[in-house]
């Protein structure tokens, strides 16, 4: 498949597809960051994570519509507000879900999978009832469209670079919060030993709720980024949940660095392969490679241990 292209062409193709894959990479990283916090730190398998992402996407869509209708002069900046709103909405829903559902199931991780799947079905139907079954698309402000010409054959989309920078920023803040702040220490203490953490005076219920909310909120931001690569429908989230879980597992569940590395390799492999073959075959090959590697190295790329 590479034979038809010259070496220079191939270089350009890889670079262009690499930048085209940036948004996919960002969505993966943001989704997987949320999941890595929820799954890696709390041990909860949140199958409704895709629906939290889609909530963020719908919030972004609504914000863009609001700005178009009432504040057209500020339209170019709506995306920043939309992201904040998406974070707040998804995070709040996440905390509600934790209170109503998840906290009863911390001792039964496999059952969280079933219960959150039920939740995802209900959310999908709720989206369908509220927003309609048709997929909606978000209009981007002018400055995000277009691309930078680096050389004659290489163009870099601006929105990709923007989302990329944003992802880096969020990742760094999450890492800071988890590993440097007092609250992050509490989270890790609760994860390691819930009873002891409670005994030394940490309010474990509160920590759990905010951790889950943070994970879901980041998924909401992922939803904002998602509006740039696809149209938003009630079941769009479901398409991403398996990929995201694979990203988390492939990277090694408790490792943030591993999550980023695996999101990068998976999204770039898929994006590059898509140039040479059909989208579905690119996805099959990528997923097969991931599953194959996981069978040989079940602990993932960076994890210290997963044996149980």
């Amino acid at each position: 498949m590479f034979g038809d292209y010259s070496l220079g062409d191939l270089g350009s193709i890889f670079v262009m597809q690499g930048f085209a894959g940036l948004i996919l990479f960002s969505v993966y990283v943001l989704m997987a960051l949320g999941l890595a916090i929820i799954f890696g730190q709390m041990g909860v398998i949140n199958m409704a994570h895709g629906e939290f992402m889609i909530l963020g996407a719908y919030v972004t869509w609504m914000t863009s519509n609001l700005f178009q209708a009432y504040l057209p002069s500020l339209f170019s900046g709506y995306f920043f507000l939309a992201m904040i709103l998406a974070f707040v909405a998804s995070g709040a829903l996440g905390m509600l879900v934790e209170w109503a559902l998840i906290r009863h199931l911390y001792k039964r991780p496999l059952d969280t999978l079933l219960a959150t799947w039920g939740l995802s079905l209900m959310l999908q139907q709720a989206y369908r009832s509220v927003f309609g079954a048709r997929e909606v698309g978000v209009e981007l402000p002018q400055w995000m469209l277009g691309s930078l010409h680096v050389t004659d054959s290489i163009e870099v989309p601006i929105n990709g670079v923007f989302v990329m920078c944003l992802t880096v920023l969020i990742t760094i803040s999450v890492a800071y919060v988890l590993y440097m702040s007092r609250w992050g220490r509490q989270v890790r203490a609760v994860v390691q030993n819930r009873i002891m953490a409670g005994a030394v005076g940490i309010n474990t219920e509160k920590v759990d709720r905010y951790t889950f909310g943070l994970g879901c909120g980041i998924a909401g931001i992922a939803g904002s980024a998602f509006t740039m690569i696809g149209s938003t429908g009630p079941t769009s989230g479901q398409l991403y949940i398996v990929d995201t879980f694979l990203v988390v597992v492939f990277g090694g569940a408790a490792s943030l660095l591993g999550t980023i590395a695996s999101a990068f390799s998976i999204s770039q492999t898929q994006s590059t392969l898509e140039f040479f073959m059909s989208g579905s075959m690119a996805k099959v090959l990528t997923l097969l490679a991931v599953v194959g590697i996981l069978m040989l190295r079940p602990q993932g790329l960076f994890a210290l241990k997963v044996r149980k």
């Binding site: 799954f39 041990g43 398998i45 559902l101 009863h104 199931l105 001792k107 039964r108 991780p109 496999l110 059952d111 999978l113 079933l114 219960a115 799947w117 039920g118 939740l119 995802s120 079905l121 209900m122 999908q124 139907q125 369908r128 009832s129 479901q238 398996v242 879980f245 694979l246 597992v249 059909s278 579905s280 075959m281 996805k283 099959v284 997923l287 097969l288 991931v290 599953v291 996981l294 069978m295 040989l296 079940p298 997963v306 044996r307 149980k308």
Partner: protein
């Protein structure tokens, strides 16, 4: 092998008789052929639920990829039927007669190599058992030998389901794509479409189901079944006692795969088509739901779960399409939160004691030998 005194204890015997009476006598007498065919469709999922009882309820291995095996079994059967339906006489109008219609539409001019052996019914029946069995063996060996289990296993099986669906949809020329294999007509010259054929196929399926129930019950009662339960509760202790935990898990997983494949094959026969919409992530998880609703620890409970949930799905989605997903989601959450043992748990907690009391007062001699503990709640 040690088998406890009787094959079924009394409550299981009652469950067996009740199920046999409903499936063999009551439903065929009361339902018209269309509804009976729907029941046949529900029962194909009962095979999957049966496998999940062994693998998930007893072995503690949650597989989210049962649709893969259901699909593999179904596609093996459908390939045989499709080849028979695409004889040269039937496909005269195609540019290449004698190959399935969807291949002709996708500009494929000769039968692919892996389709060739499906001209033989004997090979097809072997393939229905062996292809999913071997596939499960490969996945199971790769995972369990490295002591990957629990959530990781669930996620990887789910990924496998996703991969297979994308592959089937993408390779339209070889698999029929998103539409699947439709227009299946005859089995060895015997038309499977008219009403009397549907009734015969229904009974064949029920007999197969009871054969599988027998196998599952046999496994449950042998030492193997005890080891599975022990493994679920305390894997390390079983390992320290000298058992190869991985091999037992692989066995349970393969068994569940084979049951699911038989279900898939009967699906292709009874419903008359096979498509990727029965392979992917959503159907695979729904199959887990049936088992959870019926009761993951009870063979008969899981079968009732498959029948009842599907019945509810058909009737609800016919009349209130919007409510169905809400109902299904709420059912899922309720089963997990409130009754982890599903319908059979409710039965064992509320109905069974009354029946027992009834019998005990009649006999006036309480304290009969009871070995129904295995059906009770799994220790959390």
């Amino acid at each position: 092998m040690i088998i406890t005194s009787r094959f079924f204890n009394r409550s299981e015997l009652m469950g067996f008789i009740a199920l046999a009476a409903v499936l063999f006598v009551i439903l065929p007498l009361t339902l018209d052929v269309f509804r009976l065919n729907l029941v046949a469709k529900y029962l194909t999922y009962a095979f999957v639920a049966l496998g999940l009882v062994l693998c998930w309820g007893y072995g503690g291995i949650l597989s989210l990829g049962q649709g893969v095996f259901f699909g593999l079994g179904g596609y093996c059967m459908a390939m045989f039927l499709k080849l028979e339906a695409s004889s040269v006489e039937n496909t005269k109008i195609q540019s290449t007669p004698g190959i399935p219609d969807f291949m002709d539409w996708n500009q494929i001019t000769s039968l692919p190599l892996f389709w060739q052996p499906f001209h033989s019914l004997a090979f097809t029946i072997l393939a229905i058992i062996l292809v999913p069995g071997l596939f499960a063996l490969i996945i199971g060996t790769a995972m369990f030998k490295r002591r990957v289990g629990g959530t990781y296993f669930a996620i990887i099986t789910q990924a496998v389901a996703a991969i297979l669906t994308i592959l089937i949809v993408g390779q339209q020329g070889y698999t029929g794509g998103i539409n699947g294999m439709t227009d299946l007509r005859t089995l060895k010259g015997w038309d499977i479409r008219p009403d009397h054929a549907k009734i015969v196929l229904y009974f064949v399926e029920v007999v197969l189901l009871f054969a599988c129930i027998g196998i599952a019950q046999f496994i449950r009662l042998t030492k193997l079944g005890r080891i599975l339960v022990a493994m679920r509760e305390q894997e390390d202790r079983v390992r320290f006692s000298g058992y190869s935990v991985a091999n037992f898990k692989i066995f349970a997983f393969c068994m569940a795969a084979v049951f699911a494949a038989i279900g898939g094959a009967t699906f292709a026969l009874n419903v008359g088509f096979m498509s990727p919409s029965f392979v992917g992530i959503v159907p695979s998880i729904e199959m887990v739901i049936y088992t959870a609703v019926g009761g993951r620890m009870s063979i008969f409970g899981a079968i009732w779960g498959a029948i009842l949930v599907n019945f509810a799905k058909t009737s609800l989605s016919e009349s209130f399409p919007q409510l169905w997903l809400f109902g299904l989601g709420a059912l899922f959450i309720a089963v997990v939160l409130a009754f982890p043992n599903g319908l059979s748990g409710l039965w064992a907690d509320y109905v069974q004691p009354r029946i027992d009391r009834l019998f005990a007062s009649r006999k006036a001699k309480p304290g009969w030998n009871d070995n129904s503990v295995a059906d009770g709640a799994p220790a959390e």
